[in-house]
Symmetry: C2
Subunit: 227 residues, 2 copies
Amino acid sequence: MSPQASTSIRGPPTRFAVALYPGFQALDVFGPLDILNMLSKIRPLSLQVLSATLDPVLTQTSSSGHSTGQSVVPTRTYADSVDDTEVLLVPGGFGSRDPANVAPVVEYVRAAYPRLRYLLTVCTGSAVVATSGVLDGRRATSNKIAWEWATAQGPRVNWVRQARWVTDGNIWTSSGVSAGIDMMYAFVADQYGEDIAQTLADRAEYIRNTDPDFDPFAEKAENRAAK
Amino acid sequence: MSPQASTSIRGPPTRFAVALYPGFQALDVFGPLDILNMLSKIRPLSLQVLSATLDPVLTQTSSSGHSTGQSVVPTRTYADSVDDTEVLLVPGGFGSRDPANVAPVVEYVRAAYPRLRYLLTVCTGSAVVATSGVLDGRRATSNKIAWEWATAQGPRVNWVRQARWVTDGNIWTSSGVSAGIDMMYAFVADQYGEDIAQTLADRAEYIRNTDPDFDPFAEKAENRAAK
């Protein structure tokens, strides 16, 4: 049974989780999550924040040496015996560059993917997920400025450069940072209906990009690299 | 000396703070803050998260009854003896509707405003700030769906309905939720230069709205109210 067919029988997913690690990009997480925060006011949802431990997770890695950044409190660990997550969101961020830093996420994604209904990534979150192997043979996209590094993490992935977001089966991957917002509105439209997605976008006074192929940043990054 | 004149002498502000309260809207905070997170990688910045106590602050109020939402850890209290904040950002959110809930923010804004170089608000954050009186006689905007309530919080404010954001002296106010992102890019452009603002937007793969008067949501909300 395909995920699409299962949706019509089981209804849209209601149990979402985001996979944090030190040095995650804040907007990768809160762009999509705040859409779900608003959706949760009209549909009951569970939104879990996962991490290796229950300690607050900083948007920067300790090695960055800045005194800035924000800390978010997890609600569950990756090892929690309860894992009823239907939709997992994996963000990107500078912390994704360190294999040891994201090892708990990679391990969790590898173990949890068979139980998930959908796996979503933002920015270099697709590089993290690619490391787990679950993107092998799939079409996927990533951040355009980190493109060379990100795509090298998944040599058997069919990387799509020109894309705001890409869907392949039950995996949705988006381009850099703010692309996750457009992807999540598209996901909500797909699962809950276009009317609900547009109502939430209007409440957030957000002008959606509804075309997954629209991506001026693919070319911009190329021009920058050529200089 | 006007804030504009002082900027040219003192350089752009480097000490930012966001004023949290239970039930703040996540994107109101992390849309603008993540721009500053990126700016902090090329310019040293201090980004403080303020709250009444150092306990984590939830995006929902306890009365909402949902088990969803995200918690953010403050770095300073409103009563902290150190307050070197140059730019204060006040977000909106459902928690802004309860006067007791936002009383510590209102009191802090009233006391801190004379020391600030800039005061920025997102969404119904302008209603919170209006309550403190510092918007009296100023032009300001707010969320379009919450317009009637928000504007009633500041009867002596010159409310501007059709606006993505409004500047009046050293106060910048933006419309609903995602408008805070466009306002912060405009603020960074104004303070740090257009090149830096556009570089950060490209890194976030974000298409800016650079016209403060562009606001399709003013009309949309009117049409909805008329139905």
